[in-house]
Structure formats: structure tokens, C-alpha cells
Symmetry: C2
Subunit: 255 residues, 2 copies
């Protein structure tokens, strides 16, 4: 299978590397930013271009790994191809391709990608979709070379999954940041929290998070909650966050 990568950021880089590791041929990298196209092209040792009209036409798969907001624009000006177009976004419906490609789908790995940290697709669920049965089978087969957990999912369910992931990953990481700030401000190292963070994450592999809930809010320990709010008096944003989270925990767990 011959692949053209559309995009040259974190996600495109992870995919490009993964494709080559699994023996797929990456034919070309396209990015609107020449520097990015060049960097990824050189990393993968394949041709690159920033001219959309120079994209090779005979690939089997055009993998769109670009920002969600850029996707519709690039799709609109893409040259006509026979290959399958697929994007990797959690929140963009498959239909973004409709009218511009005959064959299209989605390959959405549920994971958080950072430039500086290698992530394998192996233990990551990949959610797929395609606009026809043959291509859905093909996408499923392809995704299965990367992951044991390949799941067919509609665009509507995928965007709900993506929203859930924003809570479980992006927002969770921000709470780690708030904790880090509090420690910093009192000359305490962040590292002491690592075992707690690890255990909190590990617990929900064994029990539903609602049953794993501990802390002052679930005990409705108003005395401690008030003390904490008082400790946060110079940080109104954190205070508000503390208040709404504690109220939500209490409401959710008494119902």
C-alpha cells in the first residue's frame, strides 16, 4: 500500500513513522508550510511538496493528518485522485470529504500526541469508518496492522468519544498543572505527586470512576472544603474551579 501524508505536524509524524515501520511505502509528504514538509520528508527520507497540485495522483491512501480547521480548505482544493482519502480527527465528520472524493473514511487513534514523546499505536484503540463496505474492510485491515483494538464507529459517536477524551485527558492534565503550581508556590517538588497520579489512573482500570471517588467533596466535608477555598482566596480561577468540581462531585455521588 502506497501512502501520501497530508500534513507534517505531530500526528503526521507519528503516522509516517508507524507506516514505515509496518512496511508501508510513504510516497510523499505534503504540507502548506515548506519547512514542515521538508523536515518530515527528510526524516522519512521521502519526497515532499508544499504545492497541492504536485501531490502524486497514484497513491492508494491519502492520509489527512492536519488541524481540524484546515481540513475542509485542503479537501476543497485537492486534485482529483482515485485513492482513498482518510482523516485522523476525532471531531470532524467523515462527510467533510463528500463531493470531493469518491472513496473516503476516518482512522482515529484515541491518544494524546506530543512532539517530544514517542507513542506506539499498539495498545491504542483505533476507531474507523468509511463511506463504502469495501473501503471499511480495507481501513479495518490496515488499522489492524497497528493495533489489536480496531473499532467501527459512526461520526456522531466519534465526536462524543472525542468530547469524553477532552475531559479524561486534556482537562485532567490541566488539573495536574494546577497541582504543580500549588506545589511550586510552596517550594515542593511535583515528583511527590507521581505515585498518587499513577494510582488514580490505575484505579479506574479496576472499578468505575464513580466508585473510586475519594476526597472532601464526596464525604461532603464542608469544613475542609471551606478551608481549601480560603487557601485559594488569591486565585479566583482556581477557587471557582474547586467550587464547581466539589459541587459536581457531591451532586453526582448522592444521586
Amino acid at each position: 500500500m502506497e501512502v501520501v501524508l497530508i500534513g507534517a505536524g505531530n500526528v503526521a509524524t507519528q503516522w509516517g513513522t508507524a507506516f514505515q515501520e509496518k512496511g508501508y511505502s510513504v510516497m510523499q509528504v505534503y504540507s502548506r508550510t515548506l519547512d514542515s514538509a521538508k523536515a518530515l520528508g527528510e526524516k522519512l527520507q521521502v519526497p515532499y511538496t508544499q504545492q497541492i497540485q504536485d501531490v502524486v495522483r497514484e497513491a492508494d491512501l491519502y492520509l489527512f493528518a492536519v488541524k481540524d480547521s484546515a481540513l475542509p480548505e485542503i479537501v476543497k482544493v485537492f486534485p482529483p485522485v482515485e485513492g482513498l482519502a482518510a482523516h485522523t480527527s476525532g471531531s470532524v465528520p467523515m462527510d467533510v470529504f463528500a463531493g470531493y472524493f469518491d472513496r473516503y473514511g476516518v482512522i482515529y487513534p484515541l491518544q494524546t500526541f506530543s512532539k517530544t514523546r514517542a507513542v506506539s499505536f499498539e495498545n491504542i484503540p483505533i476507531f474507523i469508518e468509511a463511506n463504502n463496505r469495501d473501503d471499511e474492510n480495507q481501513v479495518e485491515k490496515m488499522a489492524s496492522t497497528f493495533s489489536d483494538q480496531v473499532i467501527r464507529l459512526s461520526s456522531e459517536k466519534r465526536r462524543q468519544l472525542h468530547l469524553a477524551a477532552v475531559f479524561a485527558c486534556n482537562f485532567t492534565n490541566y488539573l495536574y498543572t494546577v497541582a504543580a503550581r500549588i506545589l511550586e508556590e510552596h517550594d515542593l517538588p511535583f515528583d511527590v505527586l507521581i505515585p498518587l497520579i499513577r494510582e488514580t489512573a490505575a484505579k479506574v482500570e479496576e472499578m468505575p470512576p464513580i466508585l473510586a471517588q475519594t476526597g472532601p467533596a464526596v464525604r461532603n466535608d464542608k469544613n475542609m472544603i471551606d478551608k481549601h477555598l480560603e487557601m485559594l482566596r488569591d486565585y479566583p480561577d482556581r477557587q471557582e474551579l474547586y467550587r464547581i468540581l466539589s459541587e459536581s462531585i457531591y451532586k453526582e455521588t448522592i444521586l
Copy 2:
């Protein structure tokens, strides 16, 4: 070293088991609730009582593992003893013992305890404090039999650490619950989020959480944020939580 356990809940149970594993002698369990005292006494195969006047007087250590709110009351009516009194709370100052005991301190393991899940103290930082140098050394030595990471910490810093832990553990777990609810409502299994939760937690072992931040808020992707808020329209609490977290992430990361 001979220990009396004051309290018979999750935390007292973990400590009782740990003491016995390390060869300490648990002399007695005291709890105001007879059923709890009995359950833990029988589990550890040691005497138990719900009468505070029946607490044995000759122990080396009285470990108070009770609710924060119960601590001052129990301390006030405790019979006079020569042994060391220590509590295990993150947020109660050591001085809760002042005037009632001559020798006292704190042994605070930074971890989340649930009834149904065994937790070893081994890889958990334990924060200690005592009202005199000799006992501080003794508490440090004792804590070191349980953990490699024993850290002396003042009551003031300990309560800041505890507040940070509420964000990193209790509030984080609640975000897992919100994610679980969203998935539930769309017939998706919670399990698919596990690799993401695990990776989000693992990332901050390698980089500060502020640098690990991903998602729509840090990109200031207003289009996606608006779509998510719209998806949450029937859940005003979640919507408010989403809004304040996204605003905080944006503010924190542009500064």
C-alpha cells in the same frame, strides 16, 4: 514497637496490615463504632474496644487514623499516655495534639485509599513531622521501614500538598466520571479511554504538565470549543466545567 490503632476505617486497615507485615505488634484497635472495631480487630487478630478508657496505656505509638473532623474530639477525651501520638491526615496541623500529649507527630502517606483495593506504602512518599527531635528521628525511622521516600514537612506545607493532591487525584477522578457518563450515554464502553488515561498520567513523569497540555483549549480552537459547549447544552454543570477549564487552560498557557 507496640502500636495501638485509633480508628478502623480504610486508612487504619491499610496501616494495621502494613504494621503487621513489617513485624510491628498491633496491641489493640479502638473505634467509636463497635462493628468497625470488631471487624478490624478480627482481621488483624488483636483485641479491640469502643471504650476510650479501655485503650491500653503502655503502647509506644498511638496511630490516629480517623476522619479529620473526629480527630480533635477523640484527642480531647484520650486517657493520658506516655507513648507517641501520631495522626495520618494531610490537612490537620500537628498541634491538634498539643496540650493533650507530650509527644506527638504526623505520618502522612500521599496516596488514595479505597476499601476494595490493596495499596502498598512502598512506592509512596510519606511526609512526617514531630514536636521534638528525638521523636522526629523515631518517626522517620519507622516510616522508612514502609517507604524509601520519607520527607520531613511542616504542617503548613503539608496542607498545601494535600490541596494539590485534591486537584491531582480527587478532581481528576471526577473528570474520569464525566467522561464515563458521556460514553455511557452514547453506548460506548469506558475501557476505550484507559490507554489515554494511562498515557496522560505517564506523560507528566517526563515533562511538566504545562508542557504536556494538548486539546482545543491550548490551541484556542474556538470553533471546536463552541461545538463541545453546544454538545453539552443539556448538562449545564458539565458545560460550566468545560468553559472554566478551557478558559483557565488558555490563560495559563499564553502567560
